[in-house]
């Protein structure tokens, strides 16, 4: 049974290749960062577009936190042939959406399943010591708290050495397009 991510426990390590062929390993990213953010991504999902195209939620967050030791990795667990999957589509999305961080391709879905990533977007925040700090939505839209950006709040807390108070929220979006 694959190790699954749980709040307060060590987040599962992984190695994935991005759209440019560069390999990224979580353990290595943690060595050189204060915090790592994982963003489950599918460029054609309307919810993802609302944060990357009609809105700029992710870009704004990365602009604010990227220089404060936050490594941000988008992960696409779509199987080959599924909506939004593949190197070319994601390379184009990086350009169109002005994404300043890597998009990793998890075409077998192995990493997505390790984290139980359900939707795009689905956000995870990992502390430098590898502990999973947050698992949930980008904001409280599904909880009638659309103006609360849980990731922003958690990053501020984590970077100030405070305890993350909201560790879980209800992720929303399109389903991750896993291989069957």
């Amino acid at each position: 049974m694959m190790k699954k991510a749980k709040i307060g426990e060590k987040a599962p390590n992984f190695t994935l290749t991005d759209t440019e062929g560069i390999s990224h390993t979580l353990a290595e990213a943690l060595e050189t960062s204060e915090v790592v953010v994982l963003e489950w991504f599918n460029p054609d999902c309307p919810f993802v577009k609302s944060h990357h195209k009609t809105g700029s939620t992710m870009r704004d967050l990365y602009a604010d936190f990227g220089e404060r030791g936050v490594t941000w990795l988008a992960i696409n667990s779509g199987a080959p042939g599924e909506q939004g999957a593949g190197v070319e589509r994601n390379r184009k999305a990086i350009k169109d959406y002005h994404i300043a961080y890597p998009v990793l391709l998890d075409e077998t879905g192995e990493v997505g399943h390790m984290y139980r990533a359900k939707t795009t977007p689905h956000m995870f925040i990992i502390a430098k010591d590898g502990t999973l700090l947050y698992d949930g939505a980008i904001d409280g839209r599904m909880e009638d708290k659309v103006d609360t950006n849980y990731v922003r709040v958690a990053l501020e807390q984590a970077l100030s050495g405070e305890t993350v108070t909201t560790t879980k929220s209800r992720p929303y979006g399109c389903s991750v397009k896993y291989a069957d």
Binding site: C45, P46, Q83
Partner: protein, 310 residues
């Protein structure tokens, strides 16, 4: 929108009952010849009737896959009574829209009603949805056609004539992929004189009857039918005795869904044990719909327990 204050003049009392003929977006009346019909389009109470208006840019394809329309259960609006408006979504076969709680993915539709003065909408009544399991995700959906029922209080002051009810609708319609869409619907309906006997519109009767069968009954009725409800602050136990199947459709709180819905919310032995996590400690109410299936027939009950939160 500025109210149109032209008065309605009824110059003849030989008029029979105003019987709306219901079609998709328009209606026509067999008029009494001497009625001066006026659409009294006051920008009345606008009701945002669902929790989630989408954050999306609408896509044409998403709009084309769903056709909304409005129908009325009654033949006319009678002052001092409650009428029932049906918001109907006809959905392209193979696609679905979502329940008030969409489940793991998706987004419920949003209904914004624009009602003339004298009409007040109550909360939407949602028929019990279907479960849609895909990979290890569980959603709550509607296929083909669904009607949401909105009770509408008709003021006793409302004058006879004709009024227009308008709706602006947003939805997310999905198959393998999801597409946001939107649409509008309107309904012209007659206002009967006060005291006139309320009659049902025969054209909408079947759809209202079918929809009502899927509305949850009260928890009191559940208990009378032998359902027991046990809540210990973290898990909900529902028992319906020796029945074919029980299914729980969680409604709220949105911030604390069941931890393992696929594992916990369906059983073939009449008993469900549904676990929540520590997020439920902030909840005032834990709610959902219990389906009890026996002899091939289903009954639905609204389940509501007090959470630990204030």
């Amino acid at each position: 929108m500025e109210p149109d204050r032209r008065s309605i003049g009824i110059q003849s009392s030989r008029c029979g009952e105003i019987v709306p003929r219901l079609e998709n977006h328009s209606m026509s009346f067999p008029f009494c010849k001497n009625i001066v019909k006026t659409a009294l389009l006051a920008a009345g109470a606008s009701v945002a009737a669902a929790a989630h208006a989408g954050p999306f840019e609408t896509e044409e394809e998403g709009s084309a896959l769903v056709q909304p329309r409005l129908i009325l259960e009654e033949s006319a609006l009678t002052p001092g009574t409650t009428a029932h408006l049906g918001v109907v979504f006809r959905i392209e076969p193979g696609w679905h829209i979502y329940w008030r709680n969409s489940g793991d993915t998706g987004l419920p539709p949003s209904v914004k009603l624009s009602l003339p003065a004298g009409l007040t909408a109550g909360p939407i009544q949602w028929p019990t949805p279907e479960r849609y399991v895909h990979s290890d995700l569980l959603d709550y959906v509607y296929r083909d056609e669904v009607m949401l029922i909105v009770p509408v209080e008709v003021s006793s002051e409302l004058r006879p004539g004709a009024v227009t009810i308008e709706a602006s609708l947003d939805w997310l319609v999905c198959e393998e992929v999801c597409l946001p869409g939107d649409g509008r619907a309107s309904l012209e309906v007659g206002v009967a004189p006060a005291g006139q006997r309320v009659t049902k519109n025969p054209q909408s009767a079947a759809l209202f009857a079918a929809t009502r069968q899927r509305l949850p009954r009260s928890m009191d009725e559940a208990k009378r039918d032998g359902v027991t409800v046990w809540w210990d602050g973290l898990s909900l136990e529902l028992r319906a005795g020796a029945v074919e199947e029980v299914v729980f459709y969680p409604a709220g709180p949105h911030r604390a869904p069941p931890v393992e819905p696929l594992r916990d919310t369906q059983a073939a032995d009449g008993a469900l044990h549904i676990e929540y996590d520590e997020r439920i400690t902030h909840a005032q109410l834990v709610t959902g719909v219990l389906e009890v299936k026996n002899d091939g027939k289903s009954r639905y009950y609204w389940i509501e327990v007090k959470g630990p939160g204030d």
